[in-house]
C-alpha cells in the first residue's frame, strides 16, 4: 500500500550487516595477539542497532496507529503444497515489539561495550549480539510463521553462541548445549503446529494476514466448528509447546537458570527482555487461532500460573544474584502466559513491554554489581553496597519497586491489569486471581530478599572485593539509567486507573481485540479497578515488609557453594530431574541398546561371516592342485572319462 513499506527490510538488514562485518573483522584478527581497537569496534557495534532503532522510530511515527504495512520481498519456498515468502508485516504489535527490541537492544549493546572491556573476544561478542538482534527482529517483523521460525531458531542459535561465549570452560558449553537442545525440542512443536495450520488453512495458511482472514471468514466457520476442531487443537497445542521452550515455561524451563553462565548483557537482553518473550508474542499474534481452542487456552493459563508460583518459590532459595533474576524472569513469564490463557493478550504484551524495562534494568544493575565486585555473584558475600554503589543501587531499586508493583511504576500498571483481567475471566477467575496474588507476594518477598542481601546491612565479602568496588563506566551507566527511568515511567502508556492514558491498549486492539471479544463475549463485571490496585499494592507491601524483616538480621552462612541445598535444591531442580528421567535417561538407554546390542552385533556378525569365509576358503584352497604333473594327469583322466561317455552316447 505504501511504497515506503518496501524499505522495511532495512530494519533486520542493519544488524545483519553489522553481524557479518563484525564477524569478518573478528576472523581477521583471530590469530593475532590482540584484537582491534575497542573504541572503534564499540562504535560500530552500537551503530547498527541504533540505526535499526532510528528506522523503526521513523516507521512508527510516520504511520498512525491502526495502519499496517506489509512488504513481501521475494518468494522463499513456493510449491503447490506450501507457499512461504520473505515478507514483513509492520502493524501495531510488531511496531511495539520492534521499538523496545531495537531500543533496548541498542542500549544493552552500549552497555556491553563497557562490560566486555578487555575481553579478547570483544568483536566476536558484538557480532553475535548483532546477529541476535537480526534474528529477533525477523521474528517479530515477519509476516508468516516460517520466517518467524527462522528468527525463532536464529535466536536459539545466538543464545547458544552467547551463553557459551567463554567457551574454554566446559560448564558454559554444557549450559549452552542445554539451552539449544531444550529449545530444539520446543522447535519441533512449533514445526508440527505449522504443519497443522497448513493442513487446516491451505498453503498460505501460515501467513498471518491470510490466516486471520481465513479464520474470520464466515465461509470457514462450519469447517472450524466441525472437522477442523482436531486440527485447531493440534495446531494450538503444538505451537504452545514451542512457546513453553522459548519462554521457559513448565516443563521446558530448565535451560533458563543455566543460561546465566553467559555474560550479563546476554542475560539482560536475551533472557529477560527479548528472546524469552517470543512465546508471548506468538500467542498474541495468533490470538485469533488460540481462542478457538478453549482447552489449550485453559492449559496455557494453568501452566502459566503454575510456572509463576513454582519459580517464585525457587527464587527465594537462590544465592546467586543472577539466578534470582533468572527465576524471577521465569515467574514473570508465567504471569504473561496466565494473562494470555485468560484471554487478555493485550495485557500480556503490556507486561512484556514493561518487564523488558525493569528486568533489563535489574540485570544490568546486577551486572554492574558483579563488575564492581570483580566477578562476585554470590549474594551471601555482598551487603551494605548502598554506600559504595549508590547509582547502581538506584537502578536496582527502580527495577525492584517496578517488579513488586508499587503504584505508579511500570510493573504496577501491567501486573495489575493482568490480575484484574484474570479475575473477570470466567468462573475460575477468582481462584486464579488469588493464586496469582499469592505469587505477587512471593515475588515481593524474594526480590526484597535480594535487595536486602545485596545492599543492606554490612559487607560480608572479602576485603579485596570491597576495595575494588567502584561504579561502572559511563557506557554502562547511561543504558542502566535509561532503563531505570523506563521501569518507573514506561507504564504510563497504559495507566488503567487514569482515563485517557491507554494508548498502548488502543494500539493493540485491532490485533487482538477480535480474539479477546470472541473469548469473552460478555463484559464481566467485577470489583472496581481501585480495589484491584489496592490489593496489588497490599500484596507488594506485605511481601516487601516480610522480606525485610526476615532477611535484614540474618547473616547467611558462607560455608559451601552458593545456592539451594537439601529440599530447596530438590525443588529447584525438579524439572531437571523430570527431564532426566523422561528424556535423557531413556535416550541414553536407547543409545546404549542401539550401539552395544545392535551395532556391535552387526559388526560381530560381519566378523563371523569373515571368519567363515576365510576358513572355508582355506579348506577349498586345499582342493587346488598346484603340481603341474597332477594337473596334467587329471586333465587326461577327465578327458578320457568324457570321451568314453560321449562314445557311449553315440553308440
Amino acid at each position: 500500500m505504501y511504497p515506503i513499506a518496501s524499505y522495511l527490510w532495512l530494519i533486520p538488514a542493519l544488524p545483519l550487516a553489522g553481524a557479518i562485518l563484525l564477524g569478518i573483522i573478528s576472523q581477521l584478527y583471530a590469530r593475532r595477539d590482540f584484537g582491534p581497537s575497542e573504541r572503534s569496534m564499540g562504535i560500530l557495534a552500537v551503530a547498527f542497532p541504533a540505526l535499526a532503532f532510528a528506522v523503526t522510530v521513523f516507521f512508527a511515527t510516520r504511520f498512525p496507529l491502526g495502519e499496517s504495512l506489509r512488504s513481501v520481498i521475494a518468494p522463499w519456498i513456493v510449491i503447490d503444497q506450501v507457499s512461504v515468502s520473505f515478507g514483513f508485516l509492520f502493524d501495531d504489535l510488531s511496531r511495539i515489539m520492534l521499538l523496545f527490541i531495537t531500543g533496548i537492544g541498542a542500549l544493552i549493546t552500549l552497555y556491553s561495550v563497557g562490560y566486555m572491556h578487555g575481553d579478547r573476544g570483544f568483536v566476536r561478542f558484538m557480532a553475535y549480539m548483532n546477529l541476535f538482534l537480526f534474528s529477533m527482529i525477523t521474528l517479530v517483523l515477519s509476516d508468516n510463521l516460517v520466517l518467524t521460525f527462522l528468527g525463532w531458531e536464529g535466536v536459539g542459535l545466538c543464545s547458544y553462541l552467547l551463553i557459551g561465549f567463554w567457551h574454554s570452560d566446559p560448564a558454559n558449553g554444557a549450559a549452552a548445549n542445554k539451552a539449544f537442545l531444550v529449545n530444539r525440542a520446543g522447535d519441533l512443536g512449533f514445526l508440527l503446529g505449522i504443519f497443522a495450520l497448513i493442513t487446516l488453512a491451505g498453503p498460505s495458511g501460515i501467513s498471518f494476514p491470510e490466516l486471520k482472514a481465513w479464520l474470520l471468514d464466515p465461509e470457514n466457520s462450519s469447517l472450524i466448528q466441525g472437522p477442523g476442531q482436531l486440527l485447531i487443537l493440534l495446531a494450538t497445542f503444538f505451537l504452545f509447546w514451542g512457546c513453553t521452550a522459548k519462554s521457559a515455561q513448565i516443563p521446558l524451563l530448565t535451560w533458563l537458570p543455566d543460561a546465566m553462565a553467559g555474560p550479563t548483557p546476554v542475560s539482560a537482553l536475551i533472557h529477560a527482555a527479548t528472546m524469552v518473550t517470543s512465546g508471548v508474542y506468538l500467542l498474541a499474534r495468533l490470538s485469533d487461532l488460540f481462542v478457538l481452542s478453549p482447552i489449550v487456552m485453559g492449559m496455557i493459563a494453568v501452566i502459566g500460573l503454575g510456572t509463576a508460583m513454582w519459580a517464585a518459590v525457587a527464587g527465594i532459595f537462590q544465592d546467586d544474584i543472577k539466578k534470582v533474576l533468572a527465576y524471577s524472569t521465569v515467574s514473570q513469564l508465567g504471569f504473561m502466559f496466565l494473562a494470555a490463557g485468560c484471554g487478555a493478550f493485550d495485557a500480556a504484551i503490556f507486561h512484556v513491554f514493561t518487564h523488558a524495562f525493569f528486568k533489563a534494568a535489574l540485570f544490568l544493575g546486577a551486572g554492574s554489581v558483579i563488575h564492581a565486585l570483580a566477578g562476585e555473584q554470590d549474594l551471601r558475600r555482598m551487603g551494605g553496597l548502598v554506600k559504595s554503589l549508590p547509582i547502581t543501587f538506584i537502578i536496582l531499586a527502580s527495577g525492584w519497586i517496578a517488579i513488586i508493583g508499587i503504584p505508579g511504576t511500570a510493573g504496577f500498571w501491567s501486573k495489575d491489569l493482568i490480575l484484574e483481567r484474570v479475575y473477570v475471566s470466567g468462573p475460575m477467575g477468582p481462584v486464579l486471581y488469588f493464586a496469582a496474588l499469592a505469587t505477587a507476594i512471593l515475588t515481593a518477598l524474594y526480590m526484597t530478599r535480594m535487595m536486602v542481601l545485596a545492599f543492606a546491612g554490612s559487607f560480608r565479602g572479602s576485603h579485596h572485593t570491597k576495595d575494588h568496588a567502584h561504579e561502572s563506566p559511563l557506557s554502562m551507566r547511561i543504558p542502566m539509567l535509561v532503563l531505570a527511568a523506563g521501569s518507573l515511567l514506561a507504564g504510563f502508556v497504559w495507566a488503567g486507573l487514569i482515563p485517557g492514558l491507554d494508548i498502548f491498549g488502543r494500539a493493540l486492539a485491532p490485533i487482538v481485540g477480535n480474539a479477546q471479544h470472541l473469548f469473552h463475549p460478555a463484559e464481566h463485571h467485577g470489583p472496581s479497578a481501585w480495589i484491584f490496585a489496592a490489593a496489588g499494592t497490599a500484596a507488594a507491601v506485605v511481601g516487601a515488609i516480610s522480606g525485610w524483616i526476615t532477611y535484614i538480621r540474618r547473616i547467611p552462612s558462607l560455608l559451601g557453594a552458593p545456592g539451594p541445598h537439601g529440599l530447596a535444591k530438590r525443588w529447584t531442580l525438579a524439572f531437571d530431574s523430570l527431564h532426566f528421567v523422561f528424556a535423557i535417561l531413556p535416550t541414553r538407554v536407547a543409545a546404549w541398546i542401539s550401539d552395544v546390542l545392535v551395532q556391535r552385533t552387526f559388526e560381530g556378525l560381519q566378523i563371523l561371516a569373515g571368519f567363515f569365509v576365510l576358513d572355508s576358503a582355506s579348506v577349498i584352497r586345499k582342493l587346488q592342485v598346484s603340481s603341474l604333473r597332477l594337473q596334467l594327469g587329471l586333465t587326461l583322466g577327465l578327458g578320457l572319462l568324457i570321451s568314453i561317455l560321449i562314445l557311449e552316447r553315440i553308440s
Binding site: 584352497r621 586345499k622 598346484s626 603340481s627 603341474l628 604333473r629 597332477l630 594327469g633 587326461l636
Partner: protein, 104 residues
C-alpha cells in the same frame, strides 16, 4: 607281409602309456615334454596302423593326420622349449614342482 592290426595298436597303446607315465612321473620339465612327444607319436603310430588295415577310402586319412600331427608336435615343441627357457631364467630351476605359484 600284413601286419597284425592288434599288434600295431598294442604297440601304440604301450607307447602311449609309457609316454603319459613319463610325463606324469618325471619332475624334470624336459622329460615331461619328452613324454608328451612320445604320447603324440604313439597316437601317430595308431593312425598309421589303422590306415594299413582299414579299407582304401580311409587309408589316406590315416596318413595325412599323422603328417599334421608331426607338424603340430614340432611347433609345440618349439613353443614349449621357448617357454622353458624363459621360465628357467625366472626360476633358475627345471623342477616342475617349483613352478607352482598358487599357495598351498
Amino acid at each position: 607281409m600284413t601286419p597284425d592290426l592288434m599288434a600295431v595298436q598294442g604297440v601304440a597303446v604301450v607307447l602311449f602309456c609309457l609316454g603319459i607315465a613319463v610325463a606324469m612321473t618325471r619332475r624334470n620339465i624336459f622329460f615331461i615334454l619328452m613324454g608328451v612327444e612320445l604320447a603324440i607319436n604313439a597316437a601317430n603310430l595308431s593312425f598309421i596302423g589303422f590306415s594299413r588295415t582299414l579299407p582304401a577310402a580311409m587309408s589316406l586319412t590315416g596318413q595325412v593326420v599323422p603328417l599334421f600331427a608331426i607338424a603340430v608336435a614340432a611347433a609345440e615343441a618349439c613353443v614349449g622349449l621357448a617357454m622353458v627357457i624363459l621360465i628357467y631364467r625366472a626360476r633358475e630351476s627345471l623342477d616342475s614342482e617349483s613352478f607352482a605359484n598358487l599357495k598351498e
